[in-house]
Amino acid sequence: MGNPMKIRAASKDGVTEIKVLMSHEMETGQRKDANGATIPAWFINEVTAKLDGKTVMQAQWGPSISKNPYLAFKVKGGKAGDKVTVTWVDNKGDTRTDEAMVT
């Protein structure tokens, strides 16, 4: 299930800014371990964000996204107290969903 995400969402002048930190190795599949064996690729490949139940962002990622990914974007609308839900799925099929309130 992975570790919890850190989600921040703040509404100002009719725009909600959403910032998400995710805990993930984002292994490229290009690296080798100490014994010379290739470390298999392991990365988040899909991220979905919802604001107040409505999908506002769907991202597809490759292994070129940095370890412990950070994603920030802005949405028109949204107000304090609205619920932000972020879900990621990785290429091994592991997934995690976390929520935060807009402030």
Partner: protein, 152 residues
């Protein structure tokens, strides 16, 4: 292909179980991961896979990033589209083995400005490709990756 289908079934089973437990949003919320585009080894192949062909260079597509990265493991990049009806924003790193880093599907209420952090194996062009009103546009910026620290 078989492997991919198998993986997908696994994902579905896993998600199904989680959904039943009330943990996740329905499966339908996810776009299909574009394997062809993400496994493309050249910019042209990736653009083809994204259906972008040869995107027009546009000043309305902006890449906000420092000219130099102190470390290639984490390079902050903001991709901005000033084009009306932006549907999709993709970030590519020309010299990475997996050159497509990310593709963002933008909802109608979402402002087409996304910030992400990408890996860069070496100094390279970073490309942002935008799909707006069904057409494709792009911009490029070179980001230098420096060798840092004592190198020991």
């Amino acid at each position: 292909m078989r492997t991919q289908q198998f993986e997908r079934r696994q994902v579905l089973t896993f998600l199904g179980a989680l959904a039943a437990a009330g943990f996740v949003v329905p499966r339908a919320a996810f776009a299909n991961w574009d394997k062809a585009a993400f496994e493309a080894k050249t910019v042209d192949d990736a653009l083809k896979a994204l259906g972008a062909g040869t995107p027009a260079s546009s000043g309305d597509v902006q890449i906000i990033a420092s000219d130099i990265a102190e470390n290639g493991a984490v390079v902050p990049v903001q991709a901005v589209s000033k084009l009306p009806n932006t549907e999709r924003i993709a970030i590519m790193v020309e010299k990475n083995p997996n050159m497509l880093a990310a593709a963002f599907d933008i909802g109608p209420e979402t402002i087409p400005e996304v910030t992400a952090r990408i890996k860069m194996g070496q100094t390279s062009n970073v490309l942002v490709v935008v799909k707006a009103d069904g057409k494709f546009y792009s911009a490029a910026k070179e980001i230098k990756v420096t060798l840092g620290g004592c190198g020991g």
